[in-house]
């Protein structure tokens, strides 16, 4: 292979120009950064070398990993060969780099391709609508990561009212040491959110996680003993118990949990995790006297929370809404999961086709976040190109068609008896109004017996 000219003169000129230029190697990690990057980013460039620089998704929450990920090119670069993106690097400590336009150019083919990125002013026009949408999603994700760096869980990404409410509540939970309940569907990562909140609000406090559904009072005492001993011995000690499946915890274990919490007052913080907003089971005075079974459950339900326990947690309840309530956020969540998977080295796909996103939007997601994650992993495994199409989605999602909603089908759901009953009651009310409440006169005007009228307006109570 013929060799090129010496690189030293070029590098000397490049350094003299002061222009930020960096190179992303075939393994998608940073292999070179010019001195202009040091001026722009304000960090020691050696700390950025060899870090992953893929699709905006950091490998970890480490600040330099996040900075390296922020320097990554937009989606679709491998197809177009060149692209521009306005990059706003995240702040590291007190250093807040300014946002600049960066032009990416891909050189080489396949597994030997490198990407050269130069900061400057460019005027690129993205023509493909799908790529434009993918770039817009990527910008939204970058913006979310920048504005809400304290929430690393993807569930908190989005713009819907539900997720804005969620972020506000998480912020409150993180800012103070308080007992709280976190309700969220399967796969939403509620435990990692709870642990992040614990880190933010009381970083040095010991935390013990308890599987509520497996507990009885004795086992609960044994599991909590590592934090109970310090709490007993020192009045200054603090600790946190994180109870998974709080609504599936047996009533006796719930009662024991309340007793332990009451013993230590505010020094033992309780964080409860539930799969959904739990039913509260009521406790009566009579039942309290019966040590064997203190919970009275009207409808025998295996899941729920005693009212005493609920009182402890009710100060703050954070609910993670199901995906069906966050349709608006679905494309962003899907893009975020794809980014993360790609950053972990799974597959080559970097965006979804619009048809695939449409299928995500109309699918009702009965298994929620877990199903979304699994569907995207399936699609990544099936995809051989940079775009995931509808054909790469699981069969259940790509073949889903919403109910017909036909008028004929709905007509059958209307009860004739109910409609007639409501009509009859309305007639009786009008007759009573017209007769100033005289029931006998109203019955006479309606042509029915007084007894029948009385039965309709005051039906006998069921036993």
């Amino acid at each position: 292979m013929a060799s090129g000219t010496q690189t030293r003169p070029f590098l000397r000129l490049l350094e003299a120009s002061g222009s930020p230029l960096y190179v992303i190697g075939p393994q998608e990690d940073l292999v070179y950064l010019s001195s202009g990057c040091a001026d722009w980013l304000g960090v020691d460039l050696e700390l950025l070398l060899n870090r992953r620089c893929v699709a905006g998704s950091p490998v970890s929450d480490e600040p330099y990993d996040r900075l390296a990920a922020a320097l990554s090119p937009p989606t679709g670069l491998s197809k177009r060969g060149t692209a521009s993106l306005r990059i706003q690097p995240p702040a590291i400590g007190e250093i807040r780099p300014e946002a600049i336009e960066v032009r990416f150019t891909r050189a080489g083919d396949h597994d030997k391709a490198i990407t050269i990125a130069v900061g400057g002013t460019f005027d690129d026009r993205v023509i493909d609508q799908e790529i434009r949408d993918a770039v817009a999603l990527r910008s939204q994700l970058d913006s979310w990561r920048k504005k809400h760096s304290e929430f690393t869980n993807l569930v908190t990404a989005g713009q819907s009212p539900a997720v804005r409410r969620l972020r506000r509540r998480l912020r409150v939970a993180s800012s103070t040491r308080i007992d709280f309940c976190l309700c969220g569907p399967r796969g939403c990562g509620s435990e990692s959110i709870a642990r992040n909140i614990h880190q933010a609000s009381s970083a040095n406090e010991p935390l013990i996680a308890v599987d509520g559904s497996l507990m009885d009072p004795e086992l609960l005492d044994a599991v909590l003993s590592p934090i109970i001993h310090p709490l007993t011995e020192s009045p200054q000690s603090l600790a946190t118990a994180l109870v998974r499946g709080l609504d599936e915890t047996p009533p006796e274990a719930q009662r024991r949990l309340v007793e332990i919490w009451q013993t230590f007052g505010g020094r033992l913080r309780m964080i409860g995790l539930c799969s959904r907003q739990p039913a509260v089971l009521f406790e009566t005075d009579n039942a309290k006297s019966d040590a064997a079974s203190s919970l009275i459950v009207d409808d025998i339900s295996p899941e729920g929370i005693s009212v005493d326990l609920w009182e402890i947690l009710t100060a703050l309840t954070v609910t993670i809404e199901p995906l069906s309530e966050r349709v608006e956020d679905l494309p962003l969540l899907a893009a975020a999961i794809l980014d993360r998977r790609r950053a972990l080295g799974e597959g080559t796909a970097e965006r979804f086709s619009r048809a695939a996103l449409d299928a995500f939007v109309i699918y009702p997601w009965p298994e929620d976040y877990q199903e979304l994650e699994e569907a995207i992993r399936h699609a990544i495994r099936s995809s051989r190109s940079e775009t995931i199409g509808i054909e790469q989605l699981p069969l259940a999602i790509r073949s889903y068609r919403p109910g017909s909603g036909s008028v004929a089908a709905k007509r059958l759901n209307i009860s004739l008896d109910d409609a007639l009953s409501r009509f009859e009651l309305r007639m009786i009310q009008q007759a009573l109004e017209a007769t100033n409440g005289n029931r006998a006169e109203a019955a006479r005007r309606l042509g029915i017996s007084r007894a029948r009228l009385l039965r309709r307006i005051d039906p006998p109570k069921a036993d």
């Binding site: 609508q129 349709v327 608006e328 679905l330 494309p331 619009r354 996103l357 449409d358 939007v361 109309i362 009702p364 068609r401 919403p402 109910g403 017909s404 909603g405 036909s406 008028v407 709905k410 007509r411 209307i414 409609a419 409501r422 009509f423 009651l425 309305r426």
Partner: protein
């Protein structure tokens, strides 16, 4: 149930994209006891799809090439069916073309199906505007 309880949502598009999305999200926007009837239509059959006395929704998918014809349809539909709320699904319109739509009786411009749940209060209120109680 009376025919007066039926609320029709006509969809004029080339594909089935918006039709599917409306079948998914439309029922939640239709207050009881009203019943949603989603029909596929086109510019020629819109007259058969709507009833002048009843509130309805028409969603037009508009592409740059069909903007002029669509503009005529907005006006004609508004004259003939004053209770029809007209929505536009953006099929790649430029900013200038989107601004032009403000001159016509178009209530909402949608870009993607995931935006449909956001207009729920508008549709719900429109459908309920002439609803009669069952009893």
């Amino acid at each position: 149930m009376l025919d007066a309880d039926i609320r029709r949502w006509a969809v004029c598009e080339c594909d089935q994209r918006w039709h599917r999305a409306i079948r998914r999200f439309g029922p939640a926007m239709t207050p009881d006891p009203l019943v949603l009837d989603v029909v596929e239509s086109d510019t020629s059959s819109i007259v058969d799809a709507l009833i002048p006395e009843l509130p309805a929704v028409v969603l037009w998918e508009v592409e740059p090439i069909s903007l002029r014809e669509s503009a005529h349809q907005f006006i004609k539909t508004n004259e003939r069916f004053p209770l029809a709320l007209q929505l536009v699904a953006d099929g790649g319109l430029s900013v200038r073309e989107r601004l032009l739509l403000a001159e016509f009786p178009v209530a909402v411009l949608l870009r993607q199906p995931e935006q449909l749940p956001k207009i729920r209060p508008l549709i719900e209120g429109h459908f309920a505007s002439a609803a009669q109680p069952v009893d």
